[in-house]
Amino acid sequence: MSLEERVIKTIEENLEKKEKVGLNTDLRNDLGLDSFARVIIINALEDEFGITIPDYEFKNINTVAEIVKGLREHFPDLKES
């Protein structure tokens, strides 16, 4: 599974309601995530990839594609599957 697919799957599994998530999905405008919902996603990504994401890393991130880009930049050793 690619990094993109793993991120999307993790987000979909950690939403209050079933939603179809794609790379261009905006966390706030499309999914309506509040600050706690974003924390739930960050914690789930940390568990999924075995990493610790500093709070500030996600502060200005809006889309799923930006999450993937941020993960690649800060955690270059992440495996695709």
């Binding site: 950690n14 209050e16 309506g32 739930i40 914690n43």
Partner: protein, 395 residues
């Protein structure tokens, strides 16, 4: 110039209120929570207050308050650790603990303050607080102030809570925080399952029973009675301003916890104690609950069912609540503003909830029918909802 910028930066978005020429908040109530209630000189049906048992304007309660004011005056002008510690306060703290089924309790000026003060006093930097995603703002503020790691779990989702607990062994202590009744939708937490999970993972459950005390449970004693949780060894908080029809908030639990908070909780120690008339009013409400809960409760639940059935028949979508709360779910924000205005124009007082109080596209209009309302009043409200249902055209 800095001061000018400060004040010009204090923006609030009232565009929706201006568009519909209607602001449902901060209305001008001129009566008690009577049937009807008077707003700007006009009679309204009150379906907005958290006055579940309808005791806020009960004459017996008012009389107890008046007598206490005559005997003890307006205030003891002191914190609970000083001159606020008077006979009514100590008696009520113990009586509330007995009512809930716990060892002891302390009374704060408000439920909000109790929740904020609790975590500041108890949580340390090496701890973890796991909290329901939709927990009340006072709990959220409280856990954020605590300065330890905070992990929200998906609303009422025990599987997600378990996943987080499974990875919590690195923390010194773990608190699991939730509410009994989530008041914007009326759902009840699976708190028995949460307590079992806490036992399995050596975590401490914390429950805010603000909308449960005096409402749920066989005799109105709240969530612990509702879920048959004898020997609860976690932490219990509640507002005294809802079914108990007054003001204040409590923290209740084991005696060691309460004794500790009495000497280490700044939010308690440095706040002026509730005045004697308030304490006497709460005692009077507890007296009435002891004697009359079955009658009041039956009426409260019947009214809820009547309103819910009518709204469904009139084409409204409701949340799936198990508490005596009926919430109309309206996805579109402008539709919500429009329906709220129609309800208000028809002289029914209701409570609209829009983001950030609720998630986007989950706007709600909450209705709570107190047991003080007459059946005639409820039938009048139903006629009005049927009329609104025919006139409204939701997206």
């Amino acid at each position: 110039m800095r001061r000018v910028n400060f004040y010009s930066g204090l923006d609030i978005d009232l565009s929706l209120a201006h568009k519909y020429d209607f602001n449902p908040y901060y209305c001008n109530i001129e009566s008690s929570l009577s049937d009807p209630i008077i707003i700007d000189g006009k009679e309204f049906i009150n379906l907005a207050s958290n006055n579940y048992l309808g005791l806020a304007a009960d004459k017996r309660v008012a009389q107890a308050i008046a007598q206490a004011a005559e005997k003890y005056g307006a205030s003891m002008c002191g914190t609970p650790i000083a001159t606020g510690s008077m006979v009514l306060l100590q008696r009520l703290e113990q009586r509330l603990a007995n009512f809930i089924g716990l060892q002891d309790s302390i009374i704060f000026p408000s439920g909000y303050q109790a929740n904020c003060a609790l975590f500041l006093s108890l949580a340390q930097s090496e701890d973890l607080i796991i909290i329901d995603h939709y927990a009340h703002a006072s709990l959220v503020q409280g856990v954020r102030l605590a300065g330890c790691k905070v992990k929200p779990f998906l609303h009422n989702n025990v599987s997600h809570l378990r996943k987080i607990l499974e990875k919590s062994s690195e923390y010194k202590r773990v608190f699991v925080v939730t509410e009994s009744v989530f008041s914007t939708e009326g759902s009840i937490a699976p708190f028995d399952e949460i307590v079992n999970l806490c036992a399995e993972f050596d975590a401490l459950p914390v429950i805010d029973d603000s909308h449960g005390i005096g409402v749920i449970g066989r005799s109105g004693r709240g969530i612990l009675e509702e879920k048959n949780l004898d020997n609860f060894d976690g932490i219990y908080t509640a507002s005294l301003g809802k079914a108990l029809a007054n003001t204040g908030g409590i923290i209740s639990g084991k005696k060691e916890l309460i004794d500790y908070l009495k000497y280490s909780c700044p939010g308690f120690i440095y706040s002026t104690a509730l005045p004697p008339p308030v304490l006497a009013g709460i005692e009077a409400v507890l007296d009435i609950i002891d004697k009359e809960f079955p009658i009041l409760s039956e009426r409260m639940w019947r009214y809820k069912q009547m309103i819910s059935n009518c709204l469904i028949d009139s084409g409204f979508e409701l949340t799936e609540g198990q508490a005596p709360i009926t919430s109309i779910l309206i996805k579109d924000l402008e539709d919500c503003a429009r329906v709220a205005k129609m309800i208000h124009t028809n002289k029914i007082l209701a409570t609209p909830f829009v983001p950030p109080s609720v998630p986007p596209n989950e706007n709600k209009i909450r209705l709570i029918a107190g047991a003080n309302l007459s059946e005639n009043t409820i039938n009048k409200a139903l006629d009005l909802f049927r009329k609104i249902g025919k006139e409204v055209n939701l997206k």
